[in-house]
Symmetry: C2
């Protein structure tokens, strides 16, 4: 039986989208512990200071969070689950601030750039970059700058006692971030149904080597969900490949595919086998 | 005959590594025109304001410059060549500043983070982030902050009349950036020898589709050099794939492979056929 999760770490300020992912997957009873940078979350979990870590790996507009793929390999902390959060941006103010009084809007540059239609419709608002979305709401409350708003999650508005003046101001509503939940010890789903495997490998640098590696899966009708390449440190122009596929490591066809891949791969590591998150 | 290149655009300040790539590939006679952001370089070339653009696409430590892959597809400006620059970081001061007088060292955060051994050996130096490597040297010259140095290319030291106090202070010497040269019109190498093709495609979202797409190349012994996935806008969890391989678009086996790929791909576009840059 896996031990209970009491604390889960994430990067960012309280109210960040990673914090929403913790709430969504683990419920409000789990204590969410913020860290300033991603690697600190991995280190804290490796040292047993937190019970789990919620790490973003991919966004449907921006692609993979490559830094975290590097940390997944380096720290070897197993993926035990995944969840997807829709990124909804809200215009948030301290209580009492009126929409017509707003002059400056603070947020992370990526969030500001995801609300360009809103800013085009409100040329009176000045976009002002801040290091974090939820952090901009915390700052509104603490520093009370005049005529200011922030853009962040609904959870940030709730946690800092602020008000949402306009919901869903992002340009593209098909903006989702996929998070993985990491623990210290491997936990595998009991059911083979809906299980998913993430792994990383390198091929020998010979023609057709990636094709041959993928044949380990294609020949067994295993569906790849994602493939991602990252540079291999110390070997310029060689790559690590990260794969996600549907299956359970205990299924015979998956065991055979992994055995076949190991024959072809120089480096090979299963990052986790976990229940597939709900489709978005 | 392709028209002569008189001006080439790049992102960054004069003396940036992209500027070095222009010098290395096109010689000192070509005027290098700096732009603050990548998309402006693409726009200037599309509008015919510059004759060529030098764009970084990949670094051996950090991976692909994903933003530029998105621009390559959006603007459709053909790749006509490539070159690779070794990233050498140098400690640079204005004339007269002594090593022992230095307290602050300015540079782009990525460059500062690539010189951690140097800073560990010199705990008296304070790392100070700046928006650009070459820009930090320009600033030293213009603002003359006391007891300050910058980290940038040898070209930046030369252009701004500054002095290199220590060469090659980067931690990892296997740090290379690959640049592509873009023009307005397609230019193909006359020789099939050493030619390279870059293309982008999407597959239908069915099991084994990437494997089938790669089979178009593997079955014809065509060597893939790189594969990169990027999210497909508006279709969450579907991907564009960028491929580089050795071959010339006029070779029969390459024509057949491309025809085969077109049967399988929804979106398909050759980004360029160009002579492979010297190996590093």
């Amino acid at each position: 039986m896996p031990s209970r999760i009491r604390t889960a770490g994430f990067q960012g300020e309280l109210g960040a989208f990673s914090h929403m992912a913790i709430r969504q997957m683990l419920g409000p009873g789990v204590k969410a512990t913020p860290f300033p940078v991603f690697e600190q979350v991995f280190k804290a979990l490796a040292a047993g200071k937190i019970d789990a870590a919620m790490i973003p790996v991919e966004n449907t507009l921006h692609g993979s969070v490559h830094e975290n793929y590097d940390h997944l390999l380096k720290y070897g902390l197993p993926i035990v689950g995944e969840t997807t959060v829709r990124i909804v941006h809200n215009l948030i103010v301290t209580p009492g601030t009126k929409f017509t009084a707003i002059k400056k809007v603070f947020s992370h540059p990526v969030a500001l750039n995801q609300c360009l239609n809103f800013f085009a419709a409100h040329p009176e608002f000045e976009k002002t970059t801040f290091y974090d979305t939820a952090g901009s709401i915390k700052m509104l409350l603490e520093s009370r700058p005049a005529a200011s708003a922030g853009i962040a999650s609904a959870l940030a508005a709730e946690l800092y006692g602020c008000r949402i003046l306009k919901r869903g101001i992002e340009d593209d509503h098909r903006n989702f971030t996929r998070f993985v939940l990491l623990r210290q010890k491997v936990e595998q789903p009991k059911s083979h149904e809906g299980a998913k495997v993430s792994l990383v490998f390198t091929t020998r640098n010979v023609p057709g080597s990636l094709f041959r590696a993928l044949s380990a899966f294609a020949l067994r009708d295993i569906s790849l969900l994602k493939i991602e390449s990252r540079p291999l440190r110390g070997k310029p122009w060689e790559y690590l490949f990260y794969l996600d596929f549907l299956g359970h490591v205990d299924e015979p066809r998956v065991r055979k595919a992994l055995g076949h891949l190991q024959e072809l791969a120089d480096v090979y590591k299963v990052l986790g086998c976990y229940p597939r998150g709900a489709a978005q």
